[in-house]
């Protein structure tokens, strides 16, 4: 059992939890993820490591409540326990001194970008960060990102804060303005990552995205997490989750994410209908 030592609401439906898992914290690196299961009938869900504290032996995750499991996770309190927690999984981000890098985070994707930006900064890079959300209320980790970036740009879809528009528009400007950008990281919804790939492609800038396919074991045992990269099938949980954005088959990635739409709705309906302690609408 793994204890939740801290919980915080960062924005509507976006929550942070910090979980005690010393062996995972000892090894965790930016770019990796964990898989957790709340209880026995529960599903195994992957969440990116948003931060880790080796001394205290904790892992921080930031998640958006999108379905049954994430909503239920959002209802847990400090002191509650998770049945299962396994990690660190996947390959760490390749942190090097590249020169000038741009880190793009969209929505809850800002959370996994944060440790990467921090590590890139520590490695001596000039870090320009671009973060975005639908509106001001949904923007997370602004201060944290600012602290690890040489420059921080913000966009909101509705213009309630920062630039009105998408992060890709800001990215395009940054690329035009700065003669040279050596690498771009982008994490967020699949459509955003795909758009980033299209913005950087003409500039020929190596671009890394973190894929979030549906997973089961997270150790290379099932193949649920297949992604197609440069025409080759990869298992995101062991070969990734980070891949070259210019080689990813985005249509496939989008389709595979929606594979269980009906079942996800059914699960939500079934469990909210039984009137237990679940407060999902």
């Amino acid at each position: 059992m793994y204890r939740i030592v801290k919980k915080k609401e960062l924005a509507k439906n976006i929550k942070l939890i910090e979980v005690e898992a010393p062996m995972v914290a000892a090894k965790a690196a930016a770019g990796q993820f964990v898989i957790l299961r709340i209880d026995e009938p529960g599903e195994r869900i992957p969440l990116t490591i948003a931060d880790f504290n080796r001394e205290q032996g904790t892992i921080t995750m930031i998640f958006q409540e999108v379905g049954y499991t994430t909503r239920k996770l959002g209802e847990l309190k400090e002191g509650d326990f998770l049945a299962d927690f396994v990690g660190p999984l996947g390959q760490p981000s390749e942190i090097e001194k590249y020169g000038r890098v741009v880190c793009v985070g969209g929505g809850v994707g800002v959370a996994p970008v944060y440790p990467i930006a921090r590590a890139l900064k520590e490695a001596g890079n000039e870090v320009i960060s671009i973060i975005g959300a639908r509106n001001r209320e949904l923007l997370i980790l602004e201060e944290e990102m600012r602290a690890v970036s040489d420059e921080l740009l913000v966009a909101t879809d509705d213009g309630s804060y920062g630039r009105k528009g998408f992060v890709t528009e800001l990215l395009d400007e940054v690329l035009r303005r700065n003669g040279r950008v050596d690498r771009v990281w982008a994490i967020g919804p699949v459509v955003m990552m795909r758009a980033v790939a299209e913005v950087t492609r003409p500039f020929g800038i190596p671009t890394i995205v973190s894929m979030n396919p549906i997973m089961v074991d997270g150790t290379g045992m099932c193949g649920a997490c297949r992604v197609s990269v440069g025409g080759e099938t990869k298992f995101a949980c062991v070969d990734g989750p980070e891949f070259d954005a210019h080689l990813v088959d985005w249509d496939l990635a989008l389709r595979r994410l929606n594979m269980y739409r009906e079942e996800e709705a059914q699960a939500l309906a079934y469990h909210s209908g039984e009137g237990g302690n679940c407060r999902c609408q």
């Binding site: 062996m23 995972v24 090894k27 299961r37 009938p41 529960g42 599903e43 195994r44 049954y68 499991t69 049945a83 299962d84 927690f85 396994v86 990690g87 660190p88 999984l89 089961v216 074991d217 150790t219 290379g220 045992m221 099932c222 193949g223 649920a224 297949r226 197609s228 099938t233 062991v238 249509d251 496939l252 389709r255 595979r256 594979m259 269980y260 079942e263 996800e264 059914q266 699960a267 079934y270 469990h271």
Partner: protein, 469 residues
Amino acid sequence: MPVSLKKTPMPCQPPEERIRNFQEVALGYTEEQARMEAERCLQCKKAPCRQGCPVEIDIPAFINFIKQGDFESAIKKIKEKNNLPAICGRVCPQENQCEKYCTLSKKGEPVAIGRLERFVADYELARGESELPTLPPPTGFKVAVVGSGPAGLTAAADLARMGHKVTVFEALHVPGGVLMYGIPEFRLPKRIVQAEVDYIRRLGVEIRTNSVVGKMVTVDELLENGYDAVFIGTGAGLPYFMGIPGENLLGVYSANEFLTRTNLMKAYLFPQYLTPIKVGERVAVIGAGNVAMDAARTALRLGAKKSMIVYRRSAEEMPARKEEVENAREEGVEFHFLTSPVEFHGDEAGWVKRMTCIRYELGEPDASGRRRPVPVPGSEYHMEADTVVIAIGQGPNPLVLRTTPGLELTKKGTIAADEETGATSRPGVFAGGDIVTGAATVILAMGAGKKAARAIDAYLREKGRRSHG
């Protein structure tokens, strides 16, 4: 009274009923049936059956106890050698092992050794907590076991019974390996597996789930942090795909994913259990081993109207156990031989709908001694399928291998280990089970675990002598 030429039949759920539930198909002997079957054993002096048992069970001795109605002594006799009898009695291919050598099989059917083993194991489980053997005083040595499949569990149990302190590291959230995630509930109830695992815990073995070796901790770190030896039993858990167009369409599963969702995550209880699975009306399972049979039978229970085995060789070459093929046939699984897909086609939403298959004919025998399937040019045709399960085999998972420098591998990517001892190229590191042999059987994995435990014990004692001398 002359010995009957036939095995005493074992009661089963009738096919039309069982394809609608996940309960166990074979129901096991009653006491009378077990004693009747035990009566058939000739108690041969040389006991040829024993040479077919990879874990060296004294078969006539335990059968003799059953004959006398002393079931407790019977199970004790088995447990001298086998820590997982309720599992082996259900899933071992006895027809290729003990029963193959049984004297009676010259004239008729062999003694149903597997069913008898299952009977006494279940007898003990039904009576609650089983008796523990007396354990020797602790040796002070610590051993790490990686993987909790039959190889790891057997090595762990034997090492514990030799007085060593054993910790098992398991990547998944429950121990048991393929026994939990692969083999379906209707063939091997999960409570039986967990009862056997509990027995191993009670021997003093600590099992740490959610622990991926190679990620959370490496083999070298285990050796640096107080473990005197490591046994690697990580199995053959990497699913092979065919590498043909359309394989990533929605509805195309690896057998591992299909079975893991169903067995480990209990998708058949969805939405009460939260992991979903999608099964259409026409399910095509590619391959014809035990894994394929399990997938095809699982598909029926999940509601498929038609479940088909698609295999590029003929009925004779099928690697699955005869009994499993028989079970599948009874349940209505269709067999399509000498054919295999070359492409999958989907609808607009990306769901698989159809396969292009090509016919095969059998040519000269290949390395495996089976006749090689040769594609017939121009024989392509379509076959409708809205769910496809690829069950063409599994290989070694590289997580541990890649993170253990100096560990020699074979050409197949499995660990190179001594057959008798499990010793690898790294001193203090032993290996056994599917990670060494490639996908094989429960009992061979257990046999390897057993041999490795003996070798690890010898290694530790030698190490002890050297550090004291």
